[in-house]
């Protein structure tokens, strides 16, 4: 990155030299990895349905047994698609947030997405039964995802409004406001949890741990537009985020439209994470582990970091989901447990190994 002089580059050791070429090699590797885990994910599952057998049948125009067709095209494929979308959304959002807040610990939770979405989901689970029956029937099992999305989204907009004064958004106010709003949302969630019955409590717990088990094509189709839009917008933020690493004032002097960049970043993160959390519940750690892992490999240049984060996030979530749905088959683990169990120790190991390198 332009902000580092040669001496600093020297100190970085393994990251010195032509990082762009290295980043491209990493991107190719991650792309290949994504394809491999995608195929592996389609080929594995609790049932004996074989991807190859079904593909063979498709190619030769034979009839496929209903059971095999449902397992492959209505269970594994939408689930894989959702894992790719959610993984990419969480990882890219994490990278953008860390760049925006210039804080290595930042994740989408910081702008209240998680707390707001959680509140929305809990509200729908506990109070959904009070809605008019016609509305309940129309919303069907979209009630919880929709409520989670609007909960997350409206929290972010509220926070953005609070921290914007005379056309300038203060990142510091946003950070502190986020903590306050998360506490408030937590309190309201607490009231709802107090009102909940046993069954609802179980549902709440499982929602919080995240799962891709309910993946259907309709869910994919609902979440995809927002996530894809956000992923397409993210690369345009890369140069501005790089500039912002110098500090807001310096970045402004470089001619970076700070305010517009903040607005777009926050909308991107809110859209991508809001949609991801709505369809999959609370999946932790992807937004933190993936960007940091990549910074160690290819450095902090957002132009390379963002696309690579999308690839690695998707691959990681596919892998976690494969474990979640096969390790205790025929039952399945909530995926949030898997990402935390994989991510936590790995992240610690990285920290211990690279203590000197790890700096945003």
């Amino acid at each position: 990155m332009a902000s580092l002089d040669d001496a600093e580059l020297e100190k970085l050791g393994p990251l010195a030299g032509d990082r762009e070429a290295r980043a491209r090699r990493v991107a190719v590797f991650l792309g290949a990895l994504l394809i491999i885990v995608s195929v592996a994910s389609l080929a594995t599952g609790a049932s004996g349905t074989s991807l190859w057998r079904v593909l063979g049948a498709v190619l030769s125009g034979e009839e496929i047994a209903t059971r095999d067709r449902v397992i492959l095209f209505d269970i594994r494929l939408p689930r894989l698609t959702l894992a790719i979308l959610v993984g990419a959304a969480l990882a890219v959002s994490g990278a953008v947030m860390q760049g925006l807040f210039r804080n290595p610990l930042a994740d989408p939770g910081l702008v209240g997405v998680g707390a707001g979405a959680g509140l929305g989901a809990i509200g729908a689970i506990v109070l959904g039964g009070l809605l008019p029956v016609a509305f309940q029937e129309a919303a069907g099992y979209f009630l919880v995802p929709l409520a989670a999305f609007f909960g997350g989204w409206s929290t972010v907009i509220l926070l953005y409004a609070i921290s914007t004064q005379r056309g300038r958004t203060s990142v510091a106010v946003m950070l502190l406001g986020g903590i306050a709003i998360a506490a408030l949302a937590g309190a309201i969630s607490g009231i709802l949890i107090y009102m909940a019955n046993d069954q609802q409590l179980r549902d709440l717990t499982f929602w919080g741990l995240g799962s891709l088990a309910g993946a259907t094509w309709i869910k994919v189709a609902t979440a995809a537009p927002l996530i894809v839009l956000a992923l397409l917008a993210a690369p345009f933020l890369a140069r501005s985020l790089n500039g912002l690493a110098l500090g807001e004032a310096a970045a402004a002097h470089l001619g970076i439209p700070i305010q517009r960049m903040k607005t777009v970043s926050i909308l991107t993160v809110a859209g991508a994470t809001g949609a991801a959390v709505a369809v999959s519940g609370g999946i932790g750690f992807v937004g933190i582990v993936v960007p940091h892992l990549l910074r160690l490999a290819i450095g902090p240049d957002h132009r390379m970091l963002l696309p690579n984060a999308a690839l690695l996030g998707a691959a990681l979530l596919i892998l976690a989901d494969m474990i979640a749905r096969t390790i205790v088959a025929p039952a399945e683990l909530p995926i949030g447990i898997v990402t935390a169990v994989l991510g936590g120790p790995f992240f610690l190991w990285l920290l211990l190994r690279n203590r000197s390198l790890l700096d945003l």
């Binding site: 074989s50 107090y194 259907t216 039952a331």
Partner: protein, 291 residues
């Protein structure tokens, strides 16, 4: 899977082919004589066993733990967090699920896969048990055996409640947990409230629905004659000492007389064929309290 579809598969899959043929043959052999039933919900599984149809079960959910032999069947997870492919992997042709199993989108996928899905109604009184047995028996095609079981259970249920005199029904407080000295009690509209009513008692708490933490003063004001808890095994003497040293509980009639009934959770709250036994245990305790 049909053997004919195997013959035309590509030549590079010999190993998979052999495996697939083995499965196809195995399925042909068993298809005629046994249904492949998955039972979801503790009371549903109990009813399948009570109907003598356990040989047709191939899997059960995590809440199905009675009879103990049911635990030998593969576990497809918690009834409200089912995995679509997990359920399909045991290759069922019939799923019997207690009302509220899910999530709903998973049920949709299972039905799309062409598997018969029967939702068994749930409830907390005598007729609810009858309805459950009827639904399970009809789904398994053993209506005659079902009618016998219903008659049996209804007769037992009547007999079980006989021990209680009607003049002054005792107040029963169901304590779900006493974690850290906080009383989590049952209000109305719960399985615990249902069993208390069946056994001829009066629920000491009617101010709220479901299970809620109660303040100590409210516990004292509820003035239960008997405390009802789930039997979680362990040292009952120590647990009783804890229970009756609780300041609020110690000043209730139940605390003064040290009357606590502990019954296994699934037996007490399952509302299945064993409910008469639970009612008998509770009502005899109530009878003792009255006498």
């Amino acid at each position: 899977m049909k053997p004919s579809s195997i013959k035309r598969a590509g030549p590079f899959q010999l190993a998979i082919l052999a495996f697939a043929i083995a499965i196809a043959l195995a399925q042909k052999v068993f298809a005629d004589e046994a249904d492949r039933v998955v039972s979801i919900g503790g009371s549903v599984t109990e009813i399948v066993f009570a109907l003598g149809q356990q040989d047709r079960l191939i899997a059960r959910d995590a809440t199905s733990q009675f009879p103990p032999i049911a635990s030998d069947l593969p576990d497809i997870g918690y009834m409200r967090a089912l995995s679509p492919e997990g359920v399909l992997s045991v290759d069922p042709d019939l799923i019997l699920a207690e009302e509220g199993s899910g999530p709903p989108e998973v049920i949709d996928v299972l039905e799309a896969a062409g598997i018969e899905f029967i939702s068994v109604p749930d409830g907390y009184d005598g007729p609810a048990i009858t309805a459950k047995i009827e639904a399970v028996a009809a789904a398994l095609g053993v209506e005659a055996r079902g009618a016998e079981l219903i008659a049996e259970v209804e007769a037992q249920l009547q007999q079980a409640t006989r021990a209680v005199a009607d003049d002054r029904p005792p107040r029963v407080l169901f304590i779900l947990s006493l974690q850290g000295g906080r009383v989590m009690a049952s209000g109305t509209d719960t399985a615990a409230a249902g069993i208390i009513a069946l056994a001829g008692g009066v629920n000491a708490v009617t101010e709220f629905d479901g299970y809620m933490p109660m303040s100590d003063e409210a516990v004292a004001a509820a003035a239960p004659d008997i405390i009802l808890m789930m039997d979680r095994g362990g040292n009952h003497a120590a647990a009783d000492a804890d229970l009756f040293s609780h300041p609020a509980l110690s000043i209730t009639p139940a605390g003064a007389a040290q009357r606590v009934v502990r019954i296994d959770g699934l037996l007490l709250l399952g509302f299945g064929p064993r409910t008469p036994e639970a009612v008998r245990q509770l009502s005899s305790a109530i009878g003792t309290a009255q006498g």
